[in-house]
């Protein structure tokens, strides 16, 4: 598993993809942070982080789109599948590699917040809560991206499909208030990533929300494994 993880991580930085992701992430987050805090005269970062979720919807598909789609297209998955490694460990390795890139960019962008200290006192629990929430939300987004990438062999399809799914998950809470059908509401509330995020922004550690993000991750990674098994047995 470690070999695949290493290889994936390397491939982000032997192609422009990893650099582009990090650069765009850091540039946009820096711009937004200054807009929400310095320019509006506040050191409250929670609204900044709420907006960063939408940046994730656009950027996370970029790092996950290649993971399985390209392997299928170039037939290199044949090497992985015929090697003595299990599909679940390959899926996990790819997930961890994409997540590493995301988490690194996020943590580096958090250094910006330190710069805010010269403008006023930062509410530490609230900030940590937001960062932690972003780590969790990112984790579930990456898992969704990995799953959708395993469905197709076209990386554009994978990217757009992931963006669409993530948008739906982000807007589920908005849709939820407009729809009257019980089952649809239940489903929407189950995938509603955004609504569970709120507690963290108050500086509270919401265990059930944390568990929710972890289980979303596990479910989508499990589905990615199933997709591979199904294809084999088809």
């Amino acid at each position: 598993m470690f070999a695949v993880y290493k290889k994936e991580l390397r491939s982000y930085f032997t192609t422009p993809l990893g650099y582009i992701f990090c650069a765009v992430y850091l540039a946009v987050s820096g711009f937004m942070l200054s807009l929400f805090t310095v320019h509006s005269g506040s050191v409250d970062v929670s609204s900044y982080f709420s907006l960063m979720i939408y940046l994730n919807i656009i950027l996370i598909p970029i790092i996950t789109m290649k993971s399985f789609a390209e392997e299928r297209k170039l037939k290199t998955e044949q090497l992985l599948v015929t090697s003595p490694v299990s599909v679940s460990s390959v899926v996990t390795a790819k997930f961890l590699a994409s997540y590493t890139i995301y988490a690194l960019s996020l943590l580096v962008s958090c250094l910006y917040i330190l710069g805010l200290q010269s403008y006023g006192t930062i509410n530490a629990p609230k900030t940590y809560g937001c960062i932690f929430a972003m780590l969790l939300v990112g984790m579930s987004f990456v898992a969704v991206g990995i799953f959708i990438s395993s469905l197709t062999e076209n990386i554009v399809t994978a990217a757009v499909g992931t963006m669409g799914t993530l948008l739906l998950m982000a807007f589920a809470s908005v849709l939820n208030s407009r729809i009257d059908i019980y089952i649809v509401r239940q489903i929407l509330s189950w995938v509603s990533v955004y609504s569970r995020y709120q507690y963290f922004t108050y500086g509270l550690f919401d265990v059930s929300a944390a568990l929710y993000y972890v289980s979303i991750t596990v479910v989508f990674l499990f589905l990615a494994v199933r997709v591979h098994d199904r294809r084999r047995w088809a």
């Binding site: 070999a3 170039l74 290199t76 992985l80 088809a234």
Partner: protein, 319 residues
């Protein structure tokens, strides 16, 4: 070493394999021959655990590929039809990666060094795979299959798209591998498997139509040969006369002509040498024979032969 029992594979409603069984002994080089779409790659993909079969079983070294996939996969080095190469890796990085995912225990540096010597990719080890020529890529693919020194090497059409010199090199490489490994080599070129393999398994439309020692198959393709004859004379009468000869199966004008000579394709029954009687017959009629060459059979002809003799044998049994 390898045992395949009654393997079936159905894609949706289309059967790809309809019950394939064969065995490969340790140290054999077996050619797996068939036209495109016959089910060669499907069989090899099942044998290496990439696909599942609809029914039947496959085992390597006595280990079932479904029940103990990890153990069985350790015994196989596989080069799929399209070599599974990461274009953005250097050759040495790639082999190191393969070494790691195959959970190899041999001395890494020495082992990879040896493989690069054997496959002659030493001089490109620091180049990106994406920039290599097709021949080198193919060799890197074979090198990948050798990592971990597995006792069984499976190569799916290893010489497709290579130039003649590279083909000869790869064939020599395969022959050398055969001394220390059990090798399955798939191809749709008869002469290729004839020159390398000890035994040939021919598959057509998901069924095995022949499983023979190479010498036997070669004999089968040689006796009862086809000829192209260039004869000066009225084409229809010549064909009619030649057809009436003893031992001739058919004699048809090909429609081509060279100067005043017509070209005929003549097939004789196995074991009958028609060349001398043909010459005499034509001489008697005053039709000069200006050229006679034997045509070696291609895969299609062998198929026709084998399926012909198959149906003839069945008809005889019925009678």
């Amino acid at each position: 070493m390898i045992q395949i029992n009654n393997l079936m594979k159905i894609y949706g409603n289309t059967p790809a394999l309809e019950g394939i069984s064969f065995k490969v002994e340790k140290g054999e080089i077996v050619g797996f021959l068939g036209p495109n779409g016959a089910g060669k790659s499907t069989t090899l993909n099942i044998l290496t655990g990439y696909l599942s079969s609809t029914s039947g079983s496959a085992s390597v070294g006595g280990i079932d590929i479904y029940e103990f996939p990890d153990e069985a996969k350790k015994l196989i080095g596989y080069l799929p039809e399209q070599p599974p190469l990461y274009q953005d890796m250097k050759v040495s990085e790639y082999l190191n990666f393969v070494y790691e995912i195959k959970k190899c225990r041999l001395n890494r540096k020495k082992h990879l060094e040896e493989i690069m010597q054997v496959t002659k990719i030493h001089d490109v080890k620091n180049r990106l795979i994406g920039n290599l020529s097709k021949g080198y890529k193919q060799r890197v693919g074979i090198a990948q299959a050798l990592v971990g020194n597995p006792p069984v090497i499976i190569l799916d059409e290893p010489t497709v798209g290579l130039d003649p010199k590279q083909i000869i090199e790869i064939r020599n490489l395969i022959r050398n591998l055969g001394r220390t490994h059990t090798v399955i080599l798939s191809s749709h070129i008869l002469s290729e498997v004839q020159s390398v393999c000890d035994r040939i398994v021919i598959i057509s439309e998901g069924r095995i139509v022949a499983d023979e020692k190479t010498e036997n198959l070669t004999r089968m393709t040689e006796d009862g040969s086809d000829y192209i004859a260039k004869i000066c004379g009225p084409s229809r009468e010549v064909a009619k006369t030649v057809r009436e000869m003893n031992g001739v199966i058919f004699a048809d004008p090909t429609g081509e002509r060279e100067g005043d000579a017509y070209l005929f394709r003549i097939r004789s029954e196995s074991g009958v040498d028609i060349r001398k009687p043909l010459f005499n017959l034509l001489a008697e009629n005053g039709w000069p024979l200006v050229g006679l060459e034997s045509v070696s059979l291609n895969l299609e002809d062998v198929f026709v032969r084998i399926t012909d003799s198959d149906s003839r044998a069945r008809a005889r049994r019925k009678a």
